[in-house]
Symmetry: C2
Subunit: 253 residues, 2 copies
Amino acid sequence: MRIISMSNNKGGVGKTTSTVNIAACLQKLGKKVLVIDLDPQAQSTYHFGISQNRFDQPIKIDKTIYDVIKGESSYKETIIDRNGIHVLPSCPDLRGIEFIALPAKEFLLRDSLETLNGYDFVLIDCPPSLGVLTLNALCFSNEIFIPLQVQFLPYHGMYNLFEAVDMVKKRLNKGIKISGIIGTMYNSRKAINNEVIEEIEKRLPGKLFKTLIRENVALQEAPSWGKTICEYKPNSTGADDYMGLTKEILERD
Amino acid sequence: MRIISMSNNKGGVGKTTSTVNIAACLQKLGKKVLVIDLDPQAQSTYHFGISQNRFDQPIKIDKTIYDVIKGESSYKETIIDRNGIHVLPSCPDLRGIEFIALPAKEFLLRDSLETLNGYDFVLIDCPPSLGVLTLNALCFSNEIFIPLQVQFLPYHGMYNLFEAVDMVKKRLNKGIKISGIIGTMYNSRKAINNEVIEEIEKRLPGKLFKTLIRENVALQEAPSWGKTICEYKPNSTGADDYMGLTKEILERD
Ligand SMILES: Nc1ncnc2c1ncn2[C@@H]1O[C@H](COP(=O)(O)OP(=O)(O)OP(=O)(O)O)[C@@H](O)[C@H]1O
Ligand SMILES: Nc1ncnc2c1ncn2[C@@H]1O[C@H](COP(=O)(O)OP(=O)(O)OP(=O)(O)O)[C@@H](O)[C@H]1O
Ligand SMILES: [Mg+2]
Ligand SMILES: [Mg+2]
């Protein structure tokens, strides 16, 4: 079972978009996939069309990952089957984890999913921070993927993540590794995108996945219909790129 | 003194880009401006060229806003004069505020800047979360600007912010108000941008600033040279739009 955190404390780099669409491609390739939405903004939950459609007000979901973490609900009864992709949904109350007074809070997720089995892949959509929620994801995972908009401000924000991962590896989870960086919103006509890619290849050789996710407006439209890119526009460059990336992920195991 | 939080828990919507470039335009219009970088990623600090240039390793800054909040340094000795714009820089250690064991942590910033005066505008660049750092910003400010990428996922994330502001207004800072939403990365050829704008106008009439910030690659390039858009490309659409927006801000007082 590959447990992968989709993490980057820099915001808006494509964590949610990558989680949902890699899950969709893995399923198309016959893999059994669980997505855990660990962001209180519940964006993966929304992207899958679980919490609402289009511009409607969000609807409250009965049980979420927060109930599982608190031990008030088993993961089996909380999972939502979304056309074959299993999802542990989120909600804004998940922010409450910061205020739970317990020692070793970083292991709440791992402990609550101790009996989890039967999946080829578990993908965790992380919030844009290095707080207790992201630490829970990193302590439960054996891999990290770093979605990165290939621009300067996002590139600069990556240093903090590498430092945090070193700390996690030393003190909380020896088995964790950064499997790769996913280059997102790539536009070959923009010099800045190519400059950042060159810099990543120079400083972190081999870490950037070869398949880059090109800028594609269909990826922005799909969430509003509660659909993955494979469902919304299977012939778009977004669907092609995420399928190419997913095949590369399966080879890199 | 207008104290404005540039806040949105959704990541990558243009909080840092707006903070730095509105500050630059205000200064050009003769206003006295202080920027407070309250994000541990220290992106405004980087954007101003204070912490490093291009792809270099970040350099450690002597005193930051974290020292001011802890009471170990006065704001006067911590301020960096960046060509006339005053900046209270940040650093990754600022994350430590979450672990300070003090009651009413939300007021640490306000209390440490009690004697602050002499500025027309104070702009606070917030991290992409609703944790203790953002609460500090909201408890010190009298206004909030919400930068918003006019796309679905960012639009959906905005609900949480409105709820959080209601809570702050009721319990922590009666004087706070949402002055406006800044539409960023607008491309009139993308149907999705126009759909989201229509929706905002319908649900929150009058909240969206009339000046939209168009997608402009110069805004992505400027930070790598440690420059504001006015310094990097004064004739770009990015510079025009931020100047137009700044003039609108001055009218809306
Ligand atoms: N390849 C792409 N081309 C065009 N737009 C994209 C692409 N990938 C993501 N987007 C859009 O960019 C915005 C940010 O992406 P997303 O929400 O997935 O980032 P995130 O890292 O999950 O954000 P957060 O830090 O708030 O969790 C969204 O509006 C999304 O639709
Ligand atoms: N109008 C624009 N046109 C093109 N690119 C833009 C525009 N505004 C911002 N950007 C780019 O989009 C990315 C995100 O912007 P920025 O970092 O300012 O957002 P943020 O909300 O501060 O992110 P975070 O949530 O991580 O703090 C950056 O790479 C920035 O250069
Ligand atoms: Mg997300
Ligand atoms: Mg920022």
